[in-house]
Symmetry: C2
DNA sequence: CTTCTCCATGGAAACGATTCCATCATGCTT
DNA sequence: AAGCATGATGGAATCGTTTCCATGGAGAAG
């Protein structure tokens, strides 16, 4: 274990000052002669600048933080791969944390990132705007992915999602009024996705359509309500907490309490999985007894029998774009992006009988 | 965006020296009076020590790196969750990178970690020992998880896996002979898992059993060969590269070239998925026409019809233990750990006909 | 030939923590 | 009462980089 060469070593060996070495290595001006020599010596010594020193000097860690609820959920795995891909091509490291959909853990992780000097985060938020205000106040560049904080004010204009506004409650003395800060986000077009699914089910004759949601599916349930139109049968809209057990319990409870339902929209792949399992357990046949549409196109959707009809959203792209946004921050104010969803019809929906 | 308070601010506000603040905060000796005052001031200023400064001084970043091939693979998602859980409880950040099973990318990522000053890594290795030697030479504490480097010398004693030896080729001048360096690892008991599966299939009457492997499944294929005994029908042992497409192609090719096979052991969940898909495409019924055992117990194994019989390995535990090992490094020399596997019989295997 | 400008260059000051070491006060032993 | 040990405390060095600023030399313009 030999210690690594420092910039000082390089400077010495090349017979120049450290400033010159630094300039050469970071593309500043230097005479061709010295540039060449420095480069040669650096290569020969296998010199790699220490991120530690640089970060301290520049008062920020490079790279970005990534906060997801649960990597065991294939969708978040895809999203993470997207972020990682972008990070790799930008040469930026990625700090990962999972929050288990718990605002408290999320808050803790934000603190950890702050401590690490990470000032760029892409997050699938679990907590509300309150959880995120400290981060933004601390000057973090935040980009939300896949979701918005539960209580964020989202202008529901017909043009789609606009930039999210978080009220930044400054100390009353400093500013006359609270200043709005907008956080960009990369989202799937949940509204269109859900609407398409509901219309598809309607077209098959289904009237009693249930919605099975989990944490963070607020936009989806809103879209569902809108698509179904009044009156919404509230018993057919159920929510589970994040765990697989809870999802199963919710699905099972739904099927048992309302045997009259004929179709289910599961708002995420964990919920879809739970619905399939619960249906099987209760001897409900898909799609004969109940039709199922699942959000997220995961590889195993095709393995089910029948293969699951899904609302596909581009998990990897969402991650990649979010990472792009958070890295470009500062250039021009990034705006939120909405990516299209697609209804992929396979075999889990049938006509109402 | 107000800048964060530094240790100097705290010292000033508390009327003490920075050294005292540092001591109080890191548990050194201090009089109860000053300790109290410093703590109060720190809390009041919302002071959080910057990891940047600390890391530079101590010449190492805290935290650990995590290298996995692909987060889209549920098993690695589980593993990552384990690492994250351990990191969280130890208060250590985790730097994530995925390698796509490409030694070159892996090597690049190791370089990145080195640059970041990360000196502890837990890795699912893709490259050989050569890829890892530089890391170890640089003083990194490495723990392998789930696999060993392809060409690592693994003493195949009957007691199970022993510490992995990587020959550390020092400059010949410095040391008289190459010095062995051992890298601990956390593995599943592949040998037992595969053996159990093969015996189970044998017990059902299967004689022509195929093995469908991917990158990093060397230990599993070795175990397969051992379990099957001589002579091994080499046409029944096929390998695919990491992608889902390649896995599908391999599975499909296998079924087509050897219609006489009656059972398949898939060495990972991506391969299992591919096998199911390929079988369906070729109108082979599971388990009537072909029996299938898959490595990895992923949630969706139960969703298949019939539900998949699997060799379960504790992905989350593997990650957690590996993280523990890499964090404890230095205390007492960590030894490699082998965790048990379990054959979970569901419906994808039937008697040979 | 002088003066002005420009550029390459190196010294030194940050950045925010930890930690060595010297200092000083206190209380105890002899 | 003097000397000594103990413990609290603050100043300053240090980690490896970037960046500001001053210096010096060379070439151009007058």
């Amino acid at each position: 274990m030999e210690k690594r060469a420092t910039i000082k070593d390089v400077a010495e060996a090349a017979g120049v000052g450290v400033a010159t070495v630094s300039r050469v290595l970071s593309g500043g001006s230097a005479s061709p002669r010295t540039r060449e020599r420095v480069l040669a010596v650096a290569a020969q010594l296998d010199y790699r600048p220490s991120a530690l020193g640089r970060n301290l000097r520049q008062r920020r860690t490079g790279g970005m933080g990534l906060l997801v609820p649960d990597l065991t959920d294939t969708f978040f795995g895809q999203l993470a791969e997207g972020v990682l891909a972008c990070g790799r091509s930008a040469g930026e490291p990625v700090l990962l944390a999972s929050t288990a959909d718990d605002p408290e853990q999320e808050s803790e992780m934000i603190g950890m990132l702050l401590e690490q000097g990470v000032d760029r985060v892409i997050a699938v938020p679990s907590g509300g705007a309150d959880t995120w205000r400290p981060a933004i106040r601390a000057g973090m560049a935040v980009v939300f992915a896949d979701r918005l904080p539960a209580d964020a004010a989202e202008p529901a204009g017909s043009t789609g999602v606009r930039d999210l506004m978080l009220l930044d409650g400054l100390p009353a003395a400093a500013e006359p009024a609270a200043r709005p800060v907008d956080v960009p986000a990369v989202l799937a077009d949940d509204r269109a996705g859900i609407r398409t699914a509901v219309r598809y089910l309607r077209g098959l004759g289904h009237r009693r359509i249930a919605f099975l949601g989990g944490p963070g599916h607020d936009r989806r349930v809103a879209a569902f309500r809108e698509a179904v139109g009044d009156p919404v049968d509230e018993e057919l809209v159920v929510f589970a907490t994040g765990s697989r057990d809870a999802a199963y319990a919710a699905a099972s409870g739904l099927f048992q309490s309302r045997p009259d339902l004929s179709a289910v929209v599961a708002a995420g792949n964990v919920l879809g999985e739970a619905a399939v399992l619960a249906a099987r357990e209760l001897d409900l046949r898909v799609p004969r007894d109940v039709s199922l549409v699942m959000y997220d196109d995961v590889p195993w959707a095709e393995l089910c029998s029948p293969p699951l009809t899904v609302i596909a959203q581009p998990g990897r792209d969402i991650g990649y774009r979010a990472a792009e946004l958070v890295l470009r921050t500062g250039a021009r104010r990034p705006r939120t992006v909405v990516l299209p969803t697609e209804l992929i019809v396979r075999g889990s929906c049938g006509p109402h009988r």
